[in-house]
Point group: C2
Chain length 446, copies 2
């Protein structure tokens, strides 16, 4: 049986490896358009931050290991362009222009997501970058080094933009962040977003919210980014305003698209064609809080979906319960974590959200070295259910959020969550964990 | 209505404050035998570690605040000695020898726990200490300072013993730990206990497991601790071999005792006399994994039980689901966390426990600064249920355990837990959180 995988990153290589391990008789072919497979894309900002390190450090497993040790027919430089579901064939062209076509019995689309690129004059000038794959990372790093970049302008203020701001600061660069909308991190309570803003500004990052980029001009060795009210000079522009699913190949094959034009899949990761699976950033998923489809491109769910596809292709039926939208990122010294729905998402899903924001200490009363920890918690006033939480602090936010995630998977009420027997020791938090304090406060409003 | 509380620490003061807040008409009297109320007992080792700090730093709320601002009749220096359930009276004697007797309508016993003191010759010598209350902490600190203590011998290797070892090392003292049984931290897998041992030894702590203390002798300014095979010289002895519930007053009143002679209470925290509640370290609790009674003296459940008693006394019916036995402590640079049952406890409760121990990284592949994180996870091969976990590492163990705790409250299976959408970012862990890796490995054995 031919199992073909389009895309050789998180979901694709997870599926290929697991399928071949489960069923060594299976013919597994991976079509990857770049030369890189199985790397930690999320690690790119941290790698770029360190001029001494090579991007290759991020490669988890080299292509030849997949080929020689695992027996996977891994074809790099192969761009899949067309799926023919009736003939069960996938075709495309290699990097040197040779067309190819392969028959499949089961196909996995794991094409990931791509940065959204605004259609403005100057977006294709040298020195204007997006961070999509390892090759982009190499080029950005090379550009910074060779052009003696002193000032970077980042378009966007999402978590990749913020991680890149930190990375560029670590390299000693001046950093300017620009975005069209006024609110920084609009999915969190404004008082929390203000804390992130203060953290950025205290580290010397310049913020220009509410500024639409109209054009980019090249002026000698410099770039000039024009907004309605300002012209911002810099040596490099990085565009990080968001990503969109790479679902074009699926759309052309007539497969059903879902949220944000991601490929619609069922709990077994099957697309509208039962022989074609989709997994990772290109596909949608069920949200455990709403029970509805959502599109949240993150690494764990890609890996997990890749495994589930492998199991299903090999005949072990696996259905995924879904995702909680749990995410964490670091902004300089601050940890930002979330799980579940924010207020807007909760309203859109038909809940009656009520929220609290509490500020607690990261360590016990009188324990030295404590910092503040903020918890925004959201519950449904109709059902009493816990809907989501956002946490922020210099310590203790990143791993605490997992307790909320588990509670959301179990569709716990705020009342039940407030009774959880959480850990306490003076170096790690107050007796009443900040999550419990938030739940107790939220209960009063429900 | 007279609500009397015996004991002015975590459970007692939580109950008194909340009851008075909920019902200002209530006459709330607290009988506390020491002069100290409402202090962070768990913070004592960390306070002792810092010669510059006063034990008073640990006082969360001063006695006069309870008296004047909250209107609680707080009587310090009052040792309750007898409860008369038929007459609904509690009597005792003050620190200056005056007898007292008060009638109650509702009574809360919140007498806490006391260190177990071995009956060996020399246990009452000057320089032999237990760490029970703030006054002990003051005396120990004074002794170390005034006697120019250079070497401390700690009897016991539980978490208070280990925290005190770290505290004494911070003061520049030589530290020797002695215990009768061979295994350090016998509730965790031996390979995990070995890591804790290595951490202690690398910090210069001398360990003597498998050594029963037979006697302590005073030799001039020094103490000599005799075991079957050794005589260990030191300037101070600290006994920390465990605690037992202070349930004598309850037993004398004919109340039912439960696990480890703690006061047996129902989910509303009522003892066998419905007008007498018990909460905190002196009482038992339901374990959410077994559904059976257990006795685990820890701070959060004491505070929570205090609140529940207040609610019930004030007429708002509250039933507590129980505890998961979640605990965390720090041993020098190592975080040790647990929740749920260990293998032995699981067997005793009638489960068929299966365990895995996995070693993961605390940060993502190729992310700098990673250390190791170990997870021991225990599941039931009959039901597939998650029974407990123990985690260990220099970072990421303390707060991660809360996800396990929530899962245990929900009686999740290992399979369901393995599907949790946990947080990932390179600075905070691998894509597959170590808890998920453990769950995935455990699933293969179930």
């Amino acid at each position: 049986m031919n199992f073909i995988v389009i895309g050789g990153d998180a979901a694709g290589m997870s599926a290929a490896s697991r399928a071949k391990r489960k069923n060594p008789e299976l013919k597994v072919t991976v079509l990857e358009m770049t030369q890189d497979v199985s790397y930690s894309a999320c690690g790119m900002p941290y790698n770029i931050a360190d001029a001494e390190r090579e991007l290759e450090d991020l490669v988890v497993r080299k292509a030849d290991v997949f080929r020689k040790k695992q027996g996977i027919n891994l074809l790099t430089g192969h761009r899949a362009e067309k799926i023919d579901p009736s003939d069960q064939k996938v075709s495309g062209v290699t990097v040197d222009g040779t067309p190819f076509s392969y028959p499949y019995d089961k196909l996995l689309i794991a094409t990931g997501a791509s940065p959204v690129i605004p259609k403005i004059p100057g977006i294709d000038l040298p020195g204007v970058w997006v961070l999509k794959n390892l090759e982009d990372g190499r080029r950005i790093k090379q550009w910074i080094r060779e052009k003696s970049v002193g000032k970077v302008l980042i378009v966007g203020m999402g978590y990749i933009a913020l991680e890149m701001a930190e990375a560029c600061k670590a390299l000693g660069l001046e950093v300017v962040l620009v975005k069209p909308r006024n609110r920084l991190l609009p999915w969190m309570a404004e008082e929390l977003a203000d804390i992130v803003r203060d953290e950025l500004e205290s580290k010397g990052v310049e913020l220009y919210p509410g500024q639409s980029i109209e054009r980019i001009d090249s002026e000698g060795d410099r770039l000039s980014v024009k907004t309605a009210t300002a012209a911002l000079e810099c040596d490099m522009v990085l565009v990080a305003i968001g990503v969109r699913p790479n679902s074009e190949i699926a759309a052309r094959a007539g497969l059903l698209l879902g949220k944000n034009d991601s490929i619609a899949v069922d709990r077994q990761l099957r697309s509208s064609d039962p022989d074609i699976y989709a997994a990772g950033d290109c596909s949608d998923a069920f949200h455990v809080v709403t029970g509805e489809k959502t599109w949240i491109p993150l690494a764990l769910r890609a890996n997990r979906a890749g495994w589930a596809v492998a199991d299903n292709v090999c005949g072990t039926l696996v259905e995924l319960p879904g995702i909680a939208g749990t995410a964490v990122f670091k902004v300089f010294d601050m940890q930002v974590a979330r799980s579940g729905l924010n207020v807007k998402e909760a309203e859109a899903a038909g809940f009656s959200p009520v929220e609290v924001v509490i500020k607690a200490r990261s360590r016990a009363h009188a324990h030295p070295g404590a910092s503040s920890l903020w918890v925004q918690m959201i519950g449904d006033s109709t059902s009493g259910r816990l809907l989501g939480a956002i946490m922020l602090g210099k310590e203790g936010a990143a791993h605490r959020i997992n307790a909320v995630a588990v509670g959301l998977h179990q569709q716990m009420t705020v009342a039940d969550f407030s009774q959880a027997d959480l850990a306490y020791a003076p170096p790690f938090g107050p007796v009443w964990d900040p999550m419990l304090t938030a739940a107790n406060q939220l209960l009063k409003k429900l």
